[in-house]
């Protein structure tokens, strides 16, 4: 009898704890493109940091260690509020994005879908790409005393102060989408977003295989100085240097996101390099891809392989038409949902990775049909 009572008592104590630890199964929640909206966040293995990355050559991956493994030294957290483990249901959160864009609209859709799934009430604030407005919105959000705040910082330097302010107010802060420095990461519960470097390495491998590991390649980059600029230019360059050294860089240009300007650059490359140009690596699968493909079409150069970072309708349609060899899967909805997913885990008292990456996929002709309809 005593044993039975002890067993019942133990069960009575354990069952609520088990119920608290279990979030509802989100595997059935899909994004617009039919993909799982909230797959488990992944964590990257971090190799040993080179003693002096800046002294390494441009083609050495170690040179970009602090960018590729941003947050590697953000092990120390400051004043992170402890979750009471009461679960996400009924919580109020605020998500502050960076500005209006087709991508942001899809991101917000993901935030809302995930929040609805977990029973979280969410308010989304949009500063329209203005840092001063974003700072004001952070103050407003703090005054509203939500259960958590997620932020896409507009600027890496300001991010430290922005996250510190939220942290100082005793509100759990979550970084999302745009990577910050380790100084900002110590004030966050966690950061979630895409692993641009990892995606670029995967995309490079697909291209290298199609090129038989040799030939001339040219790059159209993202806006200079931004984190995608480095990931989408030096990600492939360092990957080819390691795995396909027969692939040689012919030129790197930064004409922006204007199809006409990109078309001129590619047309000039075709004139300058002729058949030496075997492949083009684009930082964007929309305007840049349109410009590049139009130039190749006009020159009748269907032999030039093109890959692009991004996941727009334009890029996906080009993959389906066989004009782009591959693009990266960059789920905007999944990015937004990941921030809410991390919050839900935190509210539930579960361990959340300091840096949680979205799952990586490459879209090619073989699997493109499974990514329709596109998110934005």
């Amino acid at each position: 009898m005593k044993k039975l009572l002890a067993l019942l008592l133990t069960l009575a104590l354990l069952l609520p704890a088990a119920a608290l630890a279990a979030l509802p199964d989100s595997s059935g929640v899909l994004s617009t493109d039919g993909q799982m909206l909230m797959p488990e966040l992944t964590v990257k293995d971090i190799p040993e940091r080179p003693a002096d990355p800046a002294s390494l050559p441009e083609t050495d991956a170690g040179r970009y260690f602090d960018m590729e493994y941003a947050g590697w030294d953000a092990t120390e957290k400051v004043n992170i509020p402890v979750s009471d483990g009461s679960g996400p249901q009924g919580k109020n959160v605020i998500v502050i994005v960076h500005g209006a864009h087709g991508w942001t609209t899809a991101y917000q859709k993901g935030v809302q879908k995930a929040a609805d799934f977990f029973g979280i009430t969410v308010e989304i604030m949009d500063p329209n790409w203005d840092l001063a407005t974003q700072n004001q919105m952070i103050d407003t959000a703090i005054n509203l005393q939500p259960d958590a705040i997620a932020l896409i910082p507009l600027n890496a330097e300001s991010a430290v102060q922005q996250f510190k302010k939220i942290n100082d107010a005793g509100i759990p802060a979550f970084g999302t989408n745009t990577l910050t420095t380790s100084d900002a990461m110590k004030y966050m519960v966690c950061w979630t977003g895409p692993d641009d470097w990892g995606q670029m390495r995967k995309l490079s491998d697909v291209l290298a295989k199609a090129m038989n590991n040799e030939g001339g390649i040219a790059y159209i980059t993202h806006n200079a100085g931004t984190s995608p600029y480095y990931a989408r230019t030096y990600g492939p360059i360092t990957q080819f240097a390691q795995t396909a050294p027969g692939i040689k860089t012919l030129d790197i240009q930064t004409p922006g996101f204007d199809a006409v300007a990109c078309k001129q650059v590619v047309a000039d490359w075709l004139t300058r390099f002729g058949t030496e140009l075997k492949a083009i690596f684009l930082a964007d699968d929309s305007a840049q891809a349109i410009g590049a493909i139009d130039a190749l079409n006009e020159a009748g150069r269907s032999d030039v392989l093109v890959v692009a970072a991004g996941n727009s309708k334009t890029g996906q349609d080009y993959v389906k038409e066989g004009k782009l060899l591959a693009i990266t899967y960059q789920t905007a909805e999944g990015d937004g949902a990941a921030a809410i997913f991390a919050m839900a885990k935190y509210f539930d008292g579960q361990e959340v990775p300091a840096i949680g990456y979205l799952a990586q996929q490459i879209i090619t002709l073989e699997n493109v049909d499974s990514f329709y309809p596109v998110q934005w």
Partner: protein, 345 residues
């Protein structure tokens, strides 16, 4: 033997002034085409076989076509002494989005609706600046913000795709082909974009130099008060100027949306400043009443040729910005000096 002091010799001074004036006149008449000629020589020197290939000429012309169209519209605004129309980017974006939104009605109706709606936006600017005398830079900048907000609100910040709005429609194919189709001329071919830009230049030149409106515009641009006191309907002239400019921006917007295969509120960003650069390179001044469309075309050509040459010799984008900036300063400096020598400035 005593040395002759030429500086103190009045005859030498007069001779030198005459020489300088001749040089200034020569520079002033040929304007930006001196730079075009210089770039032709540089291009042939650095890439002898490639630079003058038909393919390269075609590509260079095509690359400046959209900017050239905007520059034609901007030229009217600059010529009227209203500095610049900074609402150009949103008129470009708005017209493209309206055209795509209307594509179900067929290509021609959608094109007309897109261009008319853009032109109407220009009429509002013209009224506020011409009638209410708002400062053109402040108004058009604010107007651009307002339009940006409206467009984002209407379309929820999303991009719109013609093939989603009208799936399997022939109008969508025609819309895509608009910016990709060419007119063959023997072994050569010119894209429709280039043809439209050239037509706009010719038409713009005729309006500026051969019409009553052009004459009135020159007076308004040179001296607003004198124009008003001489009985010119200055309000009407300015409204017309902004409508012509907006028409050019709207046509650009439809081509831009066609080449981008989508409409987005950010289509056209940066085209205002590039167009103003081409206009000023071409010899117009922000003071108004000076220059013509031939110069504007030269300005656009210079920008395209410079980029082309630098791409061919492998100059990076960042260095290209520096070269373009320095070239801009030199050309404006030479033009200003020659104007001063001729007493035009």
């Amino acid at each position: 033997m005593s040395e002759t002091n030429f500086d103190s010799n009045p005859a030498c001074t007069v001779h030198r002034v005459r020489e300088t004036s001749k040089f200034a006149q020569w520079i002033n008449r040929l304007g930006v085409y001196v730079v075009v000629a210089a770039l032709l020589i540089i291009g042939m020197a650095v890439a002898p076989t490639k630079f003058l290939s038909l393919e390269n000429i075609r590509n260079t012309l095509q690359s400046v076509s959209l900017m050239g169209m905007v520059a034609v519209g901007m030229s009217f605004v600059v010529y009227s002494a209203n500095f610049a129309d900074l609402s150009a980017p949103m008129i470009i974006a708005f017209s493209g989005m309206i055209t795509i939104s209307s594509i179900r009605m067929g290509f021609v109706p959608a094109f007309v609706i897109g261009v008319l709606s853009g032109t109407l936006l220009g009429a509002i600017s013209g009224f506020v600046i011409g009638k209410l005398r708002a400062h053109p830079v402040i108004w058009t900048m604010a107007y651009n913000f307002v339009l940006s907000g409206i467009v984002r609100w209407i379309y929820m910040g999303s991009q719109i795709y013609p093939d989603v709005i009208a799936p399997d429609s022939a109008a969508v194919d025609t819309f895509y082909n608009l910016s990709r189709a060419s007119i063959p001329i023997g072994d050569f071919s010119l894209s429709w974009m280039t043809v439209v830009m050239l037509a706009m230049i010719v038409l713009g030149q005729l309006i500026l130099k051969r019409t009553k409106f052009g004459n009135q515009l020159k007076v308004v641009g040179s001296n607003y008060e004198a124009a008003r006191l001489s009985g010119i309907n200055v309000t009407g002239v300015i409204i017309t100027v902004f409508m012509i400019a907006a028409f050019c921006f709207a046509v650009t917007g439809v081509f831009f949306a066609s080449i981008s295969k989508m409409g987005a509120y950010y289509n056209g960003e940066g085209y205002d400043f590039r167009a103003v650069t081409a206009v000023l390179l071409g010899g117009m001044t922000l003071m108004g009443g000076k220059g013509d469309m031939i110069g504007t075309f030269g300005g656009a050509l210079v920008m395209g040729m410079l980029t082309n040459i630098m791409n061919l010799i492998g100059v990076s984008t960042f260095e290209q910005y520096m070269v373009l900036g320095v070239a801009f300063l030199i050309i404006v400096w030479i033009t200003t000096i020659s104007d001063r020598k001729l007493g035009k400035s």
